[in-house]
């Protein structure tokens, strides 16, 4: 466990010193804060815009960071032999993959947290109310990122530095548009079994990012919302375990 935490820690330190990420972070903070200038809306609508826009931007930034960081720290390190530094130490292949996965996830979530903190503070100073929803949504977005990072860990040990991020982006979008895809298949007159297979794939096999929204939490009762969060947590944990085990298994057999 110590070795995994070391790999994550130094990935985090390295990323924190990268000017590209600082620039991205600042741009995201400025854009989110820019919504504060929309003073022609009523206060409630302004808060809603800041929350919706800010949280979408934070999630998108987190997704970009996870895809970029995992590709850079797994696939590219394998390509340019930098990985030898870790893999010739007293570390197993599992330490390497899980350490990199965890470090990337923590760094992306840290960036996301700063934007959510900004949203929280803007809403607090704007309407003197505490936005509990931004706290819950940060947690949901974190679960979503963890699923995406596990997908990326699997792709980054299996494919090249071009194919892995491309597949990651593809699955991220498919994961959001699964229901639309099923709808389109149904409308275009496909046989029933094709639609059933597609529904099964998008609901159970492919990671379904459509589940990770605040929509269900806001429309349910407290009990319903809590049950939904528990369900989401279990779903994310199972996908993470499944995909990281697959990534470790594939990587253990790989010639570097």
């Amino acid at each position: 466990m110590k070795r995994i935490l070391s790999i994550s820690k130094y990935l985090f330190i390295e990323s924190l010193r990268d000017k590209l990420f600082i620039a991205l972070m600042l741009i995201s903070l400025i854009i989110t804060a820019g919504n504060f200038a929309l003073d022609f809306y009523s206060q409630g609508i302004q808060d809603r815009i800041i929350f919706d826009f800010g949280s979408s931007l934070a999630t998108l930034l987190g997704a970009f960071l996870v895809i970029y960081l995992i590709t850079r720290h797994i696939t590219l390190e394998l390509d340019n032999k930098l990985s030898y530094f870790i893999l010739t130490c007293e570390t197993s292949r599992a330490h390497f993959v899980i350490g990199k996965w965890l470090g990337s996830l923590i760094f992306a979530s840290f960036n996301m947290l700063i934007i959510f903190l900004e949203i929280f503070l803007i809403i607090y100073f704007n309407s003197k109310s505490i936005s509990y929803l931004s706290i819950i949504y940060f947690y949901i977005a974190f679960l979503k990122l963890s699923v995406l990072s596990a997908i990326m860990a699997l792709f980054s040990v299996s494919f090249s530095a071009v194919v892995a991020p491309a597949l990651g982006i593809f699955f991220y979008f498919i994961g959001h548009f699964g229901s639309y895809m099923n709808f389109a298949l149904e409308k275009s007159g496909n046989p029933e079994f094709v639609i059933k297979i597609s529904e099964f794939l998008t609901a159970y096999i492919l990671p379904n990012f459509k589940y990770f929204t605040a929509e269900h939490v806001t429309t349910e009762t407290y009990e319903g919302a809590a049950a939904y969060l528990i369900y989401l947590t279990l779903y994310a944990i199972s996908i993470n375990i499944l995909l990281s085990c697959a990534a470790v298994k594939i990587f253990s057999r790989k010639d570097i």
């Binding site: 110590k2 070795r3 070391s6 790999i7 130094y10 330190i13 390295e14 010193r17 990268d18 340019n80 032999k81 930098l82 030898y84 530094f85 870790i86 893999l87 010739t88 130490c89 007293e90 570390t91 197993s92 599992a94 330490h95 057999r253 010639d255 570097i256």
Partner: protein
């Protein structure tokens, strides 16, 4: 139990690469048998593409042999999750650019807790600073590695290996990028490793350097071991390793 005399043993190892061209396979290493004794400095010579790096990678568990066995101190590496007590310096000088030399060696120590015997923070700091001092990098201890030249990066990896003091040191053309001072430092470190009863396995193209520090040299051609030379015997007979190497490369057997 009797102690095994060998630090590294390669027993009839093969490595085939699938070229994906009409299902042809290329053998990078063909039935290689190699034994490196404990506490010896063993050189590894061969032309470009002879299979030196492939052999080293198999020893380091970075690639899996297509056939055969590799043992480290008598233990088959197939059954190990990771290698213990083996340091490696590669020809590639890619390092973590946004870290400082001090942080890099600290990171290295955290990844090798058994070799560093879980030292406390103060002893660790002292050990790292001594290693940086010995390689002439102490004044750069807090400068990011991105500003380092190829030679400085190579020195930094040497510093990490000095701090670790592993039982086996594997070097793959470590002199590439080093200036004459750096090469002298490297040879000094290898000699020091030998004096402290460690084993060094050293691949290189520089025969003169190999002759200076090695006890034995193995020569490989197209993945096959041609000969293992005992340097002191050669010296006693006034023979030249370089001439023998060039002769073997030309195809002369005797």
């Amino acid at each position: 139990m009797a102690q095994n005399n060998y630090a590294i043993e390669c027993i009839d190892i093969y490595k085939n690469y699938d070229l994906n061209l009409n299902a042809r396979e290329k053998s990078a290493v063909k039935g290689l048998n190699l034994s490196i004794l404990r506490n010896e400095v063993h050189g590894f010579l061969g032309h470009n593409g002879a299979g030196k790096t492939t052999t080293l990678k198999m020893i380091l568990k970075l690639i899996t042999p297509s056939a055969g066995n590799i043992k480290i101190f008598g233990q088959d590496i197939n059954g190990m999750r990771y290698l213990k007590g083996v340091s490696y310096i590669s020809e590639s000088v890619n390092l973590y650019d946004f870290l400082t030399p001090f942080e890099l060696i600290e990171y290295y120590s955290e990844l090798n807790p058994d070799s560093f015997n879980n030292l406390n923070a103060r002893s660790m700091k002292q050990k790292i600073e001594e290693a940086l001092d010995e390689t002439g990098l102490l004044k750069w201890r807090d400068t990011r590695i991105e500003k380092f030249s190829k030679g400085m990066r190579q020195r930094l990896m040497i510093a990490a290996c000095i701090a670790r003091e592993a039982d086996i040191l594997v070097l793959d053309e470590p002199e590439s990028g080093l200036d004459p001072d750096g090469i002298a430092l490297l040879l000094k470190i290898i000699t020091r490793f030998k004096k402290s009863s460690k084993t060094v396995f050293f691949s290189s193209h520089h025969i003169s350097e190999i002759e200076k520090v090695c006890d034995r040299v193995s020569i490989i051609k197209y993945g096959e071991l041609l000969e293992t030379i005992n340097i002191s015997e050669y010296r006693a007979k006034n023979l030249s390793v370089e001439e023998r190497y060039l002769g073997l490369m030309r195809g002369e057997n005797h």
